[in-house]
C-alpha cells in the first residue's frame, strides 16, 4: 500500500526537510511565470507532488489532517471559478471575455501592466485547480476509491 506510513528513517527525515522547500518552489514557479519558464500548470503539479510525497511517507491520515477532502474540492472548483470570474469581470467592465485591458481602471495601473496582473490571477486559478485535481486523482487511484481515514482499514482487509 502506498498510503501507509513509511518506516524508513532516511526517507521520512529527508522528505520532512524537503517538502516545505518544494512548496515554496512551486509557489515561486507560479508567481514568476512571467519572467522564467513556469506558470500555473507546472507550479500546480509540483505542489501536488509535494502533497503526494507527504502521503507516501507520512501516511494518508496525517495528510488529510492538513488538507481534507472538503478543502480539496473547494480548491478544485475554486480555481476554475477564479479563471472564469476574471473573464466575467472583464465582461462586466465593458470588454470582451478575458480582455484584461479593461481591468486597468479597477487596478489603477496602465493597460500593459493590467494585462500582466490579469495573467497572474489566471495562473493562480490554474495552479489551484491543477493541484487539487492531481491530488484527488492520486488519492483515488492509490486507495481504490476510499480516501478517508475510517475506510482505510477496510480497504487493506479487502486487499489481503
Amino acid at each position: 500500500m502506498m498510503t501507509k506510513q513509511s518506516d524508513d528513517v532516511i526517507v521520512k527525515t529527508l522528505s520532512r526537510l524537503l517538502i516545505p522547500f518544494m512548496q515554496i518552489y512551486a509557489l515561486y514557479v507560479i508567481a514568476h511565470g512571467h519572467y522564467s519558464p513556469g506558470g500555473g500548470f507546472q507550479g500546480g503539479v509540483i505542489l501536488a507532488a509535494s502533497l503526494i510525497l507527504l502521503v507516501i511517507t507520512y501516511g494518508l491520515d496525517n495528510t488529510l489532517r492538513r488538507m481534507n477532502e472538503k478543502l480539496n474540492v473547494i480548491m478544485c472548483s475554486g480555481g476554475v471559478f477564479i479563471y472564469a470570474g476574471i473573464g466575467v469581470l472583464c465582461l462586466i467592465l465593458g470588454g470582451n471575455f478575458l480582455d484584461y485591458a479593461k481591468l486597468s481602471p479597477l487596478l489603477g495601473v496602465g493597460i500593459a501592466q493590467a494585462r500582466s496582473l490579469g495573467i497572474l490571477g489566471v495562473e493562480v486559478g490554474v495552479g489551484m485547480a491543477v493541484m487539487a485535481v492531481m491530488v484527488s486523482i492520486f488519492l483515488d487511484v492509490a486507495t481504490g476509491g476510499l480516501p478517508s481515514v475510517d475506510a482505510l482499514e477496510k480497504t487493506s482487509r479487502d486487499n489481503d
Partner: protein, 94 residues
Amino acid sequence: MKAIALIAVLMTGGLLIYSIEGLPDWGDPDSPASTHVSPEYIQDALEKTATPNIVTAVLADYRGYDTMGETAVIFTAGIGCVLILRKKRKGKGD
C-alpha cells in the same frame, strides 16, 4: 493479432513517411508555421502585456479562452475519476 498490428503499423508508418516529403526541414526559420501569426506574438508580447515570457503571454492572454477550456477539461477529468472509482461509504449511504 500481432500480424494485424504489424500491418497497421506499417501502413501508418508508410503514410507518415510519405508525408515527411512535404514537411519543411528541421529548424527551418521560414517554415509556414513560423511565418503566419507567431512573428506578431514575438513582436507584440512584451510591449502590450509587459510579460517577458512569450509563452505565458500567449497562453493566458492571447489564447486565454483556449486555456480556460483546458482547465475545464482537467477539472472534468478529476470529477470523472472520482465518479468512476469512489465507493459508497458504509453508514453514510442510504
